[in-house]
């Protein structure tokens, strides 16, 4: 069965840029580069590397432009896929890639004191919790939460099924909840009570 055509809001720019239109190419760069930058920075946590990855993803886009088939995939999804894979490659080369089966099981911190940390301490804790996730779980969280991609699109980016995305997200969220419980136990509890009321 053939895949249905995919609507791509950037299809017009892609077609023009494919014909060598510099203005369209510049508009395309302006439209997509901030998203690629955000994803690559959140996965790599290194501005220089995130810049390299963003540029490399755009260069790869120029290479596929002449043969790009409108309607087969959204260019943003394709770029997210390229960016994520480039980030994973860099993490692997640097020995920083953490696969899920290598990640230590998050420990349940138990009952936590009802304390609110200072804003910067909370930020550090959230950053550390995100950094401690296996990379594919972190990518799923980043793409879903920060980039607001649908599970189907995250599945296309990571090359997995929607069910596998849900599984990654569930494990990632569980690990984050456990890691962040000391700081946010009161917030989580308040949220649950608020919804139960």
């Amino acid at each position: 069965m053939s895949n249905p055509l995919v609507f791509d809001p950037l299809a017009g720019l892609i077609a023009k840029a494919g014909r060598g239109d510099r203005a369209a190419a510049a508009d395309l760069v302006k439209a997509v580069s901030p998203k690629l930058w955000r994803v690559s920075w959140r996965l790599l946590r290194d501005a220089a590397e995130a810049e390299d990855v963003t540029q490399e993803a755009l260069i790869r886009l120029w290479k596929v432009l002449p043969t790009w088939q409108t309607g087969r995939a959204r260019v943003e999804t394709w770029l997210h896929q390229v960016t994520t894979n480039l980030c994973f490659d860099r993490l692997r080369k640097a020995g920083r890639f953490v696969d899920e089966d290598q990640a230590p099981e998050p420990l349940d911190p138990g009952p936590m004191p009802d304390t609110r940390l200072h804003q910067s301490a909370l930020r550090d804790s959230v950053d550390a919790a995100l950094a401690s996730l296996p990379d594919r779980q972190r990518a799923a969280i980043v793409l879903t939460h920060y980039e607001e991609l649908a599970a189907k699109d995250v599945g296309e980016v990571l090359g997995i099924s929607v069910d596998a995305v849900e599984s990654l997200l569930a494990r990632g969220r569980r690990a984050l909840r456990l890691a962040l419980a000391p700081e946010k136990a009161d917030l989580l509890q308040a949220s649950v009570e608020g919804h139960a009321a």
Partner: protein, 100 residues
């Protein structure tokens, strides 16, 4: 977004995730300059190839067209010359001097 995303614990977690460090400003000028330079490098050879091929095609068309036109012109000239010769022969053979 799946139904799991609406679970209260996940909504609370989403609130917590918003406390992560903000993404630093993108070096937009550098990224855009590098991307456009790469775009230029990517499209330039194609344009050069198109120009070269276009010039060759135009030369070929002009060359063939010119040759065909020259051939037809030469044939026409030969025919005219033959006609003129025939007419001259005819005049000579009709003893035009005595007729005049």
């Amino acid at each position: 977004m799946s139904i799991i995303d609406h679970h209260p614990l996940n909504k609370a977690l989403a609130d917590v995730l918003n406390h992560a460090s903000p993404v630093p400003d993108m070096p937009a000028a550098r990224i855009e300059a590098a991307a456009m330079a790469a775009f230029g490098a990517q499209t330039a050879p194609r344009h050069a190839w198109v120009k070269t091929f276009g010039a060759l095609a135009a030369s070929l068309v002009l060359g063939v067209g010119g040759f065909v036109y020259y051939q037809s012109w030469q044939t026409e000239q030969k025919a005219l010359t033959a006609d003129a010769d025939a007419f001259a022969e005819q005049l000579l053979s009709t003893d035009i001097d005595s007729a005049l």
